[in-house]
Symmetry: C2
Subunit: 346 residues, 2 copies
């Protein structure tokens, strides 16, 4: 795609030192954007200064928290597009401390929306949504109109954040787009915890010669997306949502509404279902190590969604997006990255 | 209906001094329940000690806040059914201070759910949901499976609270039922502000000889429900959800899921659409005073949902509930109450 839209454009990335955020930062720097990153470098999450290798002097890094309204307002005041990727991302942790999840995923998003609303530059917001909003899918493949059925507090709060976007788009004309990412993987992902990004976690375990532990039989289907494809969707969505500001279209999440508000939700996934255990097997084929099947820990079983496959046709139709990287190719690139750099992530 | 189910049952009512809560308290006291009320008596909300006239010595009143986790946990430890009606209820205020709304509607509900989860009595939770979850309805009449489309922060947070209920029902088997009330009216409602309960507000204005101000043309349809019918639905739902604890049925919000979790959502409305201006006219006919049509204030126009009518067939089918009080009859009773008692609400 042409990325000239972002040349010289003032982009703010929340959670910009993490997996999604830093991959976005890299692409935006390459596209010539004027990039500011805010990240709190929470030790349990994915932020890593190593993620800025080669681009550190081409962006402005602000260490701070998205729940700090004043700081976020100040940063939004200088932004034309806000990529909002800061989040508490662990399903399990959202059940252990639902209040913490609420702080990051709801209060944090309200900071961003209030900041965008007040900004003289009238920035658009592109939000890192998640398949967890749909949760245990009530239809398959899940579309953007599938009734959300989240199974954990994380999924509920990410859904609330996406709906705040609709409220601010309608009431204040803050252009907002949410990309509901499936299970994404690739370089620049944390390797300290298996609590998020399980494919990357498995890959890290295998590279360290440790066994890969699959819960249950691993028969559940997942929809894996290579991070470069997610980044491509974000850049397309960022351009699309900015255009909505001047010519809003009918709300593409639910065609029935017909209301012209600058808001949209898109699934962003491969559309391919792969068994979790098969994914683990491919990692073993690629890297070595071995599989172990262990019983589901109860705290994981309680929030397991079952099969999930996303229908991303709407993103194809409206954004011209489709996944370009085959799973095997994405895996190969990810393995190559971590063979070189794993030490920076342990 | 038979209300013997609640005889001797330990019932906790959050927001129990407010409109919905105190009407519930009255019915539960009459049914012989062992009633505890928690209310923070926030001066801007609907709590009023006068609401306990005649029942004050038949219940236990705790002054406290639902965001006080320790207190809520202690109260839940002694409850068999929790009627969770405490809330920030103003649509407009939720846009002025979204964080405050988040505190009451999300954090407060998490306190209740965590309290219920930890309680040795394994209480069921019956939640006062709202039509605001459906917002600007994507189909009419709206069912429980209509894709939510909230237009204000209040609607988003009430929706999140309802979905937390699903999460706790699934993960921890906390039985949870949400009743999505339409525009309810009746005795024991606050009269200090037009920010919530507009029909009651109009009635109070008319009784004081003040003009009734309708925004715009008042052509939008609303679904008005007399409070006694809402209370009847709560008692039926409270009995239903307790039975779900021992024999869960398939998740009645979305039949596709077929999952047996102790959770349900029901619309609770009259099913009749009445033009807002016609409602105001009937108040004038009944009480006197006059109508004034004034332009929409921008902060109200920004969060107006358009027409709304609820399809409450599911509550009929599963709870055996139907609205029994005609609008005119409800209005007559409400007028009679405030003719007598208005001074306690000003």
């Amino acid at each position: 795609m042409k990325r000239s839209f972002f040349k010289g454009r003032k982009a703010l990335i929340t959670g910009g030192a993490g997996f999604v955020g830093s991959n976005l930062a890299r692409a935006l720097v390459e596209a010539g954007a004027d990039v500011t990153v805010i990240d709190n470098f929470h030790p349990d999450y994915g932020a890593n200064v190593f993620n800025f290798t080669g681009i550190a002097n081409k962006l402005r890094l602000v260490r701070g928290d998205i729940t700090d309204r004043g700081l976020v307002a100040k940063l939004c005041a200088g932004a034309e597009t806000v990529f909002h990727a800061a989040a508490q991302c662990s399903h399990v942790d959202s059940m252990i401390d639902p209040w913490l999840d609420l702080d990051y995923n709801c209060r944090g998003t309200l900071s961003v929306l209030e900041g965008a609303r007040a900004s003289p530059l009238k920035p658009s917001v592109a939000y890192a949504g998640t398949r967890a909003i749909v949760g245990a899918p009530l239809e398959m493949p899940a579309t953007e109109s599938t009734l959300p059925n989240p199974v954990d507090v994380y999924g509920v709060n990410k859904h609330a954040a996406e709906l705040y976007g609709a409220v601010y788009a309608r009431a204040y004309r803050v252009p907002f787009v949410s990309l509901r990412l499936t299970n994404s993987f690739g370089p620049y992902h944390q390797m300290k915890s298996g609590k998020y990004g399980i494919l990357n976690w498995f890959l890290g375990q295998a590279l360290q010669g440790k066994p890969i532990r699959v819960f249950g039989t691993g028969e559940q289907l997942r929809d894996y997306l290579y991070i470069d494809d997610a980044v491509d969707a974000f850049l397309r969505a960022g351009e699309f949502v900015a255009a909505l500001a001047t010519s809003p279209r009918a709300y593409p999440r639910a065609r029935l509404a017909g209301e012209k508000i600058p808001y949209a939700v898109f699934n962003v996934g491969s559309g391919q279902g792969m068994k979790f255990a098969d994914c683990a097997r491919r990692i073993v084929e690629c890297v070595g190590s071995k599989l172990e099947f262990v019983p589901w820990p109860p705290e994981r079983a309680a929030i397991e969604t079952g099969d999930f496959i996303a229908d991303s046709a709407l993103a194809g139709e409206i954004l011209g997006w489709k996944p370009e990287t085959a799973f095997e190719e994405g895996l190969k690139r990810t393995v190559a990255f971590y063979r070189e750099n794993l030490r920076h992530y342990l």
